[in-house]
Amino acid sequence: MNASAYIHISLIDLLIALLFVGVTALISYWQHLGLERDIAIGTVRTFVQLLTVGFVLQRLFDASRWYWVVLALAIMTTVAGYNAVKRQAGAKQGLFAMTTASIATGGAITLILVIGVVLRVLPWYQPQYVIPIAGMVIGNSMNGAALVVNRFHSELTLRRSEIEASLALGAPAREAAAGALRESLRAAMMPTVNSMMTVGLVQLPGMMTGQIISGASPLDAVRYQVVVMLMIAAATAVTAMTAAFGALRVFFTPAQQLSPRLELGRHWDAYVGRRQS
């Protein structure tokens, strides 16, 4: 993997790539899609966000200090935790800390195994390995946590009478919500399991593509990808499991009652906020 094995993109080349945006905008204009403004903003954001990240990563790589790497991981996890909650349709109160903790749990366990046991990266904090792998682990964990929370919320709403009947017979929340928990975990794991079924047949994963372009042999890239697939599955499973038990504590009271947040939906946040102020 030497640096000269692949073609560099100059700033001029980047500007030429803007032609693609021109094509996209033209189609929007021609077909009256009304997306020109969004395309313009999206293009600017793509440039700004990625160039910023590139700059930050370059500094991170040059410095190669464990504390900068840990800080980056913490920021990535927090942003992922926030994003997982952002997609929740109902109330968000109390969920952000929970999803962040779940992603941290699933992410940490998987990352330690991959970096320490499978790849045996030395020193362990080499940003070249840790950052991209953590990105994939945390990104997939985020989706898992979001799916669990969303699905659990809708299952509780749907199965309310069945769950209250179980509670009224003396069932603990975990037992009364067993069906809802199972469905939520399945929903969180399905995308990962599905992608394990089709990987390589429909499209080549991004990391593998990147490695091949950088000059790695496809056989080497494939080995990395196998590790990545399995690690993503584990990270998603651990995160989903942790998030499911967290959701149980958020949506049920300690007295094994369904939380009133279910009835109030998205209005719960405003209600709790007002009561606290």
Partner: protein
Amino acid sequence: MVPAPEECVHSSDDIVNEGRFASMDDPAYAPAVELVHVSKTKPVLLGDSVTQLQVIGDVSFSVPKGEILALVGPSGSGKSTLLRMMNRLEDPSSGQISLFGTDISSLDVRELRRRVGMVFQTPALIAGTVADNVSYGPRLRGEDCDPGECLDLVRLERDLLHRPATALSVGQQQRMCIARALANRPEVLLLDEPTSALDQTAANTVLDLVCRLNREMGLTVIMVTHLMEHARAVGTRVVLLVRGAKIEEGAANAFFASPATEIGRRFLQGELSNEC
């Protein structure tokens, strides 16, 4: 013509005299369920904003052991909320609820719910067979249960045991739900509009069943209903709730013969609108 349900024959005095307590004045006497100054305020969605609404205001009454209390009132009067607080599916904002003299908030909530069974308006089925449903409570605690015996209690044939619960008629499902609550050997049975989703025949069967369980097992029953003929058929005592406040409390015969209050009289004549 559907025969009217057989009315329960005993009065509250009989129960007290038959029981182990000499009278209500006996210091050892503790009512099955007692509510003391119970209030409940809860957030309610009105339009697009959340408002704190008092749904129960300072309600006190007691239900002696072995009685069938009909908790009546217009819809929206807080009857179901009051019932749900008796097995802690919800908690009061203030006040105290006792079960045989013990504050229910000091009991283990799962043990409380075993002792205070509940049946809902629409039969809530647990996935599986009739036997799975009926033995659900005992199985949670790792106890043995003969689901057939429980079906006998509610007069359902034992060959239904291995049918999926969804294959039963709604009336049968409701009786199965009662059998499921009885499998826990409860001391008090809460019924939340148990007949409202049923046709007249199925409703009468359930009402007869409630009377029989009360008579034969001495089960204390609290039944929420907005149907006065059903309250009259089974109730030995009545509490009338309007807008979250207790308006009347007393023997069922007396209430239905001549209510003590003007509101009670208007309620029985159907003059109180549902949203009052």
